[in-house]
Symmetry: C2
């Protein structure tokens, strides 16, 4: 069993992710927003790194069912239908739509994870679903990585605490054990420190303080709601969609012998 | 006041360090070893990244007073006089000598810090001296960075705990406050978790476990001894030497007005 936490996608290459099951976390706000959108009936979320790429991609898809969403410095991009707030992803707004969303840190983390066996999306909003899947992956002796988007490639307290919660759910408790890297140990220490109080680490984090200062305190509180959007998205062919049920509760048809 | 902790030197550019007072930590074992060597009378320690560079530099200096020290995968390099163990840096071995030491992570961190106003070396071995200097720097309204060497550019529990201890010493307590980045908050959380028990985070860390497995458990215990080598080294012109006394207890001759 091996469970690693990475506090940022910086320096990660294809060899690092190959063969692994990866859970990407950008709790404030990209992965929370993705869970909200898919839970409320969006068909897919396509994360891109820039406004220009979003506009180009929307033109290429060319459908009336495409919505542009995103922020620059936390504020909605002019002309876009939606910002990057989970509270905007109502059923009325997103049902049946494909959402092209700009998110700098979230997109970097997702692209860094490409090449993994499978890439899931995690946040407080879907922690139980993600935790179950991570626990199953460990039970199947898969290498699991929890990848934090971080903050401009640096450590983010919000994501690190969420990583610790996911690790604890995967392990069935916050007690450290063998097979964890140092970042996993430290993220479990954060769980011991903040216990089940999501709002504290999220509002203490620089991302949380900045959002609150800009009037998005509601988003921080929403992102702290455990299992608010209980869906398990995966990232496949550059799209985030609801993972097939067979992945959520897999009973592998042909259990593979494990290398000793 | 601004106090940042960086968990690895990855992605740090000259603009990030300019104008800052930086404390570099590689507690297992590079910065501990540097403190031991200078405390026991070495004239200077010159950190380099490779065996080849060490040999070339020793030839260039060409003095009988040069010692080669270093490890590859924790083990002494064949033909070198010393390994990378603080326990080897006895007065008998190092007094009056210039030591060229290979250390992968420690060197990367020191080179990343080049261009800062001043770069100090910190470890458990000199925590009180480093903490006093950091506190003075904050009192003078300087921006302080605690830079962890980390582990192959990733998070290391040993360095992160040491960073928390240094931050707590600089701030006069582990209570978080404004002006700290998320990594500083998390490192203070580690101090609350492990309190003053240096041996636990050091022996839990991957670096500590690996050293113990290879028979260097004595080094891990030595690196955990608070103020074992109470000297304050700085890194200047590619050499680590004892910082001038006036820096250790500075009374700035011309206090500069701070930009508002």
């Amino acid at each position: 069993m091996r469970l690693d936490v990475w506090f940022s996608p910086m320096g990660i290459g294809p060899a690092d992710v190959q063969g692994r099951t990866i859970f990407v976390i950008d709790v404030l706000r990209a992965t929370t927003t993705m869970c909200a959108a898919l839970h409320h009936g969006a068909r897919a979320v396509i994360p891109v790194a820039s406004t220009e790429e979003a506009l180009r991609l929307a033109q290429t898809i060319g459908s009336a069912d495409v919505l542009l969403a995103g922020e620059k410095n936390c504020v909605r991009i002019p002309g876009f239908a939606l910002g990057n707030s989970p509270l905007e992803m109502t059923e009325q707004a997103v049902k049946g739509k494909t959402i092209v969303v700009t998110t700098t840190n979230g997109t970097k983390a997702l692209l860094a994870a490409q090449g993994a066996t499978i890439v899931y999306i995690a946040a407080a909003a879907n922690l139980t679903a993600a935790g179950e899947r991570a626990r199953e992956a460990l039970a199947q002796r898969r290498d699991v990585v929890i990848l934090c988007a971080g903050r401009e490639t640096a450590f983010g307290l919000d994501d690190a605490y969420c990583a610790g919660r996911l690790a604890a759910a995967a392990l069935g408790g916050a007690k450290p054990r063998k097979g964890l890297n140092d970042a996993a140990l430290a993220s479990l220490d954060l769980v011991r420190r903040y216990r089940d109080n999501w709002e504290r680490p999220l509002s203490y984090s620089r991302a949380g303080r900045e959002l609150t200062r800009l009037g998005f305190g509601g988003d921080v509180r929403d992102a702290a709601r455990l299992d608010a959007y209980p869906v398990l998205p995966h990232f496949h062919e550059r799209r985030v969609t609801v993972a097939p049920q067979s992945q959520v509760h897999p009973a592998p048809p042909q259990p593979q012998p494990q290398p000793s």
